[in-house]
Symmetry: C2
Subunit: 160 residues, 2 copies
Amino acid sequence: MKEMTDIHMNEMVEMLQEKLRNAGIKVTHQRLEIFLEVLRAYDHPDADKVFKNVRKRLPTVSLDTVYRTLWLLVEMGILQALGNSREKTRFDVNLDKHHHFTCRLCGEVFDFHNQELSCLNILPVLPDIGKVEQITIEIRGICESCMKKQDQISKKGVSE
Amino acid sequence: MKEMTDIHMNEMVEMLQEKLRNAGIKVTHQRLEIFLEVLRAYDHPDADKVFKNVRKRLPTVSLDTVYRTLWLLVEMGILQALGNSREKTRFDVNLDKHHHFTCRLCGEVFDFHNQELSCLNILPVLPDIGKVEQITIEIRGICESCMKKQDQISKKGVSE
DNA sequence: ATCCTATTTAAGATTGATTACAAATTAGGA
DNA sequence: TCCTAATTTGTAATCAATCTTAAATAGGAT
């Protein structure tokens, strides 16, 4: 799917090294190999698959390092994590079309309605991909109540 | 958030009873109480929260029953499960705007681009809710390759 | 009301992903 | 090169969720 020349890969790894250095984070061969593995992957590998493949080149790498590195790269905006499997499954009465806003601070989930989202016109069949059965739209951010709390804290910090 | 009168609740419970009976599934007070608990909840509770609250009324209910019932109701289309916490987290190089199509049969994830999705105009601040930081759109369905496999199987079944 | 079967309970074991910890190693500046 | 704090390693723990078994319970068809 994703064509990636060796030259392009080298550029990406150099970019990573620079970002790490700028952030004062050590450039270890583990981190580079783990990043390379995700780059190289045609699919979207899970942590265990990355672990197994990196092990072929670094036989002593630990699963822990793979997890820590992957999430580090996500925090740095270099990778993205698909799905929200770290959260517990929540259950909701299946009423009319509505969407969910999850606060990343308190974890609360709020319903909201949005004309544009509800009227999304996704073809029932995506060419060359498959048949669409379900569209999930999840919005994440900070809820009003948590924003107010943050404001109060930052005001306190300034006034002191 | 979700206003639900007692009358409305009764209607919903009757609807559930009818659906259970039509499906030949026994109407137990456990199932009704668990459904009622999700109905009553202003938020979107996880299984453990449902369990703890139902226990207040049915002190002997087991966690196992709560899980079984919640997923039963999801299968019947009466509840929906938020998030995909049953799947492992996958990692992807964070390139340009693209979306993901997950095949529910083989689990493969495919990238695709969609003008309409990429140009979605969500307000950065949802009134009365909070600040938007991230929009995730996940499409689920059956990929081409799995559809072909299914076709072959059904043709085989007919020709025999 | 009776009977058959689905369902629930209880308590524990299991799975599978993810994270925590102490000890050993290493990157990178002085 | 040396030093030190950051990082990694290997193992063990955690956590949600599921399964197991056997016994008890309760729907609902007749």
